[in-house]
């Protein structure tokens, strides 16, 4: 198992370590529910050093990225972050990622931990433009501070006015109490917050400084468990569940990140065709009517027929309900429709509802 630079800190602070995509990371500290509510109401601190970072530099770096992802980066400004899926020629998803634009010739791509090596190979094998690609994941640690109190806490460590960083914007070479870092107003919880990129050697020190800076505001360390329930309530997709090699971004409700009017990009033909014919499957949200918690891969039925499966399901701590996301045949993807989730071989009633389950509270 790979260890992040914060591994020892997690051990010392009582984090419960599990294996996740080849990494040893805390699944929880005080408990998933407590951490979840803390992020919604105050702020939580996450170690996301397992995420992959890939740098793309060169005269045609922008042209290259524009061709390989589905979103349009041609209008992106310096210090802007763009979320995008990246597709295979058949429209399946290689990964979803964040693109940090430093300038026209320098970008940083942040990819899912478990996909880092696959993505790196994908980037290299599809390179035709004048650009260099480097996997710098081992040289970068990442800490996320998420929740409504995040800005007030992080502000204590820097002279930079954090209010100047807009939603999906970033600043590089910021000093956070003596530590050099890149800070973006991004996250994976549906709350306001920041993601901080820094040198691995500086990560344990900054982690401890943040915890003490946020003590009064109620900042707590949080684990992968809460990270998952938080992103799920906000209906943010997780690679391998809502999107995958076999699920297109159009099926996964990510159409606004697929710019079919772009001249050329990987997967364009397949996605265009899919859009014209309307995708065969659609991701929906549902809540249980009967008693039961839906889980990943549970089957969904209607009128005795199999119509799809649950991509993510859980008890929702914020809503105090059992809810799920499911990929269904499009004909059945109608709000208010009653469907059946097969839980331990029993068909249990659920109702399709509007997404997201939880309205994101971004500071825009």
């Amino acid at each position: 198992m790979k260890k992040t630079p914060l591994y020892q800190v997690h051990q010392d602070l009582g984090g419960k370590i599990i294996e996740f995509g080849g990494w040893a990371l805390p699944v929880q500290y005080s408990g998933v529910l407590d951490e979840h509510h803390t992020v919604r109401n105050a702020a939580g601190l996450f170690d996301v050093s397992h995420m992959g970072e890939i740098s793309v530099k060169g005269p045609e770096a922008g042209k290259y990225i524009q061709r390989i992802v589905t979103n349009d980066i041609s209008q992106a400004k310096k210090n802007q972050v763009i979320y995008t899926p990246m597709c295979y020629p058949d429209g399946g998803v290689v990964d979803d990622l964040l693109i940090y634009k430093f300038d026209d010739e320098k970008y940083l791509l942040v990819v899912n931990a478990a996909n880092t090596e696959k993505d790196y190979q994908w980037f290299r094998s599809n390179l035709q433009e004048d650009a260099t690609i480097e996997n710098i994941s081992d040289k970068v640690a990442q800490i996320a501070i998420q929740g409504p109190m995040s800005e007030a806490i992080l502000q204590k460590l820097t002279r930079i006015n954090l209010a100047d960083i807009p939603f999906y914007g970033f600043m590089d070479k910021i000093e956070l109490d003596g530590v050099n870092a890149l800070v973006s107003r991004t996250g994976y919880t549906g709350e306001d917050g920041f993601e901080i990129y820094l040198s691995p050697a500086d990560a344990p020190g900054l982690w401890m400084k943040l915890l003490s800076a946020g003590e009064k505001e109620g900042l707590k360390p949080a684990g992968l468990g809460a990270r998952d329930t938080l992103r799920f309530e906000a209906a943010l997709p997780l690679y391998g569940q809502e999107i995958s090699r076999d699920i297109s971004p159009l099926e996964a409700r990510l159409g606004i990140f697929v710019k079919l009017d772009k001249e050329v990009f990987m997967g364009k033909e397949a996605l265009k065709k899919q859009k014209e014919q309307s995708p065969g499957r659609k991701l929906v949200g549902f809540e249980m009517i009967d008693r039961g918690i839906p889980r990943h891969d549970y089957r969904v039925r209607f009128d005795g027929k199999d119509i799809g499966y649950v991509t993510t399901g859980s008890y929702s701590p914020t809503l105090n309900k059992n809810i799920g996301l499911a990929l269904l045949e499009s004909a059945h993807a109608q709000v208010d429709k009653t469907i059946e989730i097969i839980i331990r071989e029993k068909p249990l009633k659920a109702r399709i509802i509007k997404l997201p389950f939880y309205k994101k509270r971004y500071k825009k």
Binding site: K16, V27, Q28, G31, V32, L33, D34, H36, G225, D228, T229, R291, G292, I293, R295, S314, Y315, P317, N322, R344
Partner: protein
């Protein structure tokens, strides 16, 4: 980790407390701690006849669902339905949160269960 004296334990982390002719069953402190926040449970019905080792219910934390196994064979005489709406009480008080009470089919099965010293040893090895 609480492992009280005077009750029996299974290797699957259930506890058994005899009161009169009924065996009260629940999950141990170790089990609730490993599961994390419990948010849902399923229990059998009164009158169900269940064999030792058979699943008698399900405990679900935020992250996952786990079966609870019968530590001995018996007929379900009482079901603690209060727990259905308050599954978190298993986290707070695992030994007060009995799930079902059964009339054992074979009293000798009780002897095959662990006492608190043996169970403590088992947990120490995990």
């Amino acid at each position: 980790m609480k492992i009280p004296e005077g009750i029996k334990y299974s290797k699957d982390h259930e506890w058994v407390k005899m009161e009169g002719n009924l065996a009260y069953l629940g999950i141990t402190d170790y089990a609730q701690d490993s599961l994390g926040d419990i948010v849902f449970i399923e229990l059998p019905a009164e009158g169900d006849v269940l064999a030792s080792g058979q699943p008698m219910g399900v405990v679900e934390s935020v992250k996952a669902a786990s079966d609870v196994y019968m530590p001995l064979s018996g007929t379900v005489k009482k079901v603690n339905n209060v727990l259905l709406d308050n599954p978190e009480s298993i986290n707070k008080d695992p030994y007060d949160s009995w799930m079902i009470a059964v009339e054992p089919t074979d009293a000798s099965e009780l002897e095959t269960l662990l006492d608190h010293v043996e169970y403590k040893k088992l947990c120490a090895k995990l």
